[in-house]
């Protein structure tokens, strides 16, 4: 192929893109649909993961109860030991908070109406609730060592952690990630196959045109190149439209659906957090499907 043909071949790609309007539009629409299904599914799975991560973060607090028989000096001693523990390197303690018996009672009464009814009869004099320390820690990795240290300070049985809940959530997180990943892979394969089939159809509709080019003496490159340019254009246009629609869909429909139907309040990942991942993924799918499908499909009709 001569270099002077390159501008012509590029131009032919653009011209064909416009002149084969119906098939081009069909290919773009199929691409957009597939991209939106993929993008929306990814966003939902990612939000579920982010929700579980947030829940796990909220579990990183140990409640430690001071024995009812402890004096105020004992409490000061405990606080000093906690300060020393927090200052130790690798102790896993981020901070701790001391809550008096009265504050514990007040917090519990405020937490629900049912508890308020039960606890209303108690005052500072007959408050049965223990003096409490809330210890925030960094990671569940070293939590068992921390729990042993706290048992040494508060005594066995006075420590309440969320390790069991954490283990359950961790399992749920990895199961959700695995299921999400496989579904994404299957969805991606289906989407690429659907897109490739559509592009194949658009090429099939023009097989006579390809045959004419070959009869006139066009080389394979000369025939395939405009189709690839067309494939690139289809991929680009579909990507741009899909990105815009995905943004609107996420900020409106998906957000509303999750907020309306999810049992728990979920803080959604901001749409801009998916930039540039989703646009790049759309572009990759669009270009791959447009270019590879065009090239493969045209090649099938070259043999005349």
């Amino acid at each position: 192929m001569k270099l002077r043909n390159i501008p012509h071949l590029l131009g032919q790609g653009f011209v064909s893109f416009w002149r084969n309007g119906v098939m081009t539009t069909a290919a773009i629409l199929v691409l957009i649909c597939c991209m939106l299904v993929l993008g929306s599914f990814y966003a939902v799975v990612d939000n579920l993961g982010a929700f579980i991560d947030n829940e796990i973060d909220s579990l990183k607090t140990v409640s430690a109860y001071v024995d009812a028989s402890a004096s105020s000096e004992d409490v000061e001693g405990i606080e000093a030991q906690l300060k020393a523990l927090a200052a130790e390197e690798g102790s896993n303690v981020i901070s701790f908070e001391h809550v008096t018996k009265d504050e514990v009672l007040k917090q519990m009464m405020e937490s629900s109406d049912e508890l308020r009814e039960v606890l209303e009869k108690y005052t500072s004099e007959n408050n049965p609730l223990p003096e409490t320390f809330y210890i925030k820690f960094e990671s569940f990795d070293g939590v068992q060592t921390l729990l042993r240290n706290l048992e040494g300070i508060f005594g066995a049985g006075n420590i309440k952690s969320q390790v069991v809940t954490y283990e359950s959530l961790k399992d749920l997180r990895s199961t959700a990630a695995m299921v999400g990943l496989w579904l994404m892979v299957i969805l991606l394969i289906v989407a690429v196959l659907v897109i490739m089939n559509t592009v194949k159809l658009t090429v099939y509709a023009r097989r006579k045109e390809i045959a004419i080019m070959r009869y006139i003496g066009a080389t394979s490159v000369f025939v395939v190149a405009p189709f690839i340019v067309e494939g690139v254009l289809i991929g680009l246009v579909a990507t741009v439209i899909s990105c815009g629609l995905q943004f609107l869909l996420y900020n409106n429909v998906i957000t509303d659906l999750i907020n309306d139907y999810a049992a728990l309040k979920i803080n959604l990942v901001p749409a801009m957090d998916y930039v540039p991942l989703i646009p790049l993924a759309f572009l990759a799918i669009g270009l791959f499907a447009g270019v590879v499908a065009s090239a493969i499909s045209v090649k099938k009709h070259l043999d005349v």
């Binding site: 192929m1 001569k2 002077r4 043909n5 012509h8 064909s16 002149r19 084969n20 006579k208 045109e209 045959a211 004419i212 080019m213 070959r214 009869y215 006139i216 003496g217 066009a218 080389t219 000369f222 043999d303 005349v304």
Partner: protein, 219 residues
């Protein structure tokens, strides 16, 4: 030439067409005319024997050389085979693009060829907007645009009125006078009789007559 299903489309053919000759290939439907065209274009490959077009030995020519073979000939197909989504101008220009002709040359020569087939005013039209005869003239312009060594016309008068038919044949004769080999495939005996050129008659895949301007030379 035997098709994969075992049908022998052409057999025992011994035909030589010299450079610059004008030859009619005639025969009934199924005589092998189309197969002969396909062989010349290397759309089909000879299953036995030898076939040479210009310097190309078609029986052993690799596929990658097919475009180069086809550029040596201009073909006017019976069904025209024009690009439906290209204008008349673009259809003719495309043949020149294929061989890598400069844009300046294309801009200069396409109007010349369109003028030659009297379609200057239709340059911007699409084939679907043209009559059968006009489409055929576009096919003619495209076939000769690259100054081919050989022009093959498959039933060139099948879709045009007698006057246009005469004009197209005159055009082919003019092309032939320029030293080009012209092969006209037709079943129109009136046309053959009118022009008194070498006529090869096919029947059931065999040559049953070869007359040179009305004189039988070989059968």
């Amino acid at each position: 030439m035997v098709y994969p299903n075992g049908t022998a489309a052409l057999s025992g053919i011994n035909l030589k067409i010299e450079d610059g000759e004008f030859v009619f290939i005639v025969g009934k439907s199924g005589a092998g005319k189309t197969t002969l065209t396909k062989l010349l274009l290397r759309e089909e490959k000879v299953t036995d024997g030898k076939l040479r077009v210009d310097d190309f030995r078609l029986e052993k020519m690799p596929k990658r050389k097919i475009p180069h073979l086809r550029r040596t000939m201009g073909v006017v197909f019976q069904d025209f085979r024009l690009f439906p989504n290209k204008t008349v101008y673009e259809n003719v220009a495309f043949a020149m693009r294929v061989i890598g002709e400069k844009s300046s040359v294309i801009k200069q020569r396409v109007p010349y060829f369109l003028n030659l087939v009297e379609l200057t005013d239709k340059a911007g039209s699409f084939p679907t907007e043209l009559s059968g005869g006009e489409q055929q003239r576009v096919a003619f312009a495209r076939a000769i645009a690259n100054n081919p060594k050989m022009v093959i016309a498959d039933e060139p008068t099948g879709n045009v009125d007698p006057e246009m038919s005469r004009d197209l044949m005159d055009l082919l004769i003019r092309i032939n006078k320029l030293g080009k080999t012209v092969i006209v495939i037709t079943h129109d005996h009136y046309l053959v009789e009118q022009f008194k050129k070498r006529t090869v008659t096919l029947d059931e895949g065999r040559i049953v007559g070869d007359r040179n301007g009305g004189v039988a030379v070989e059968a």
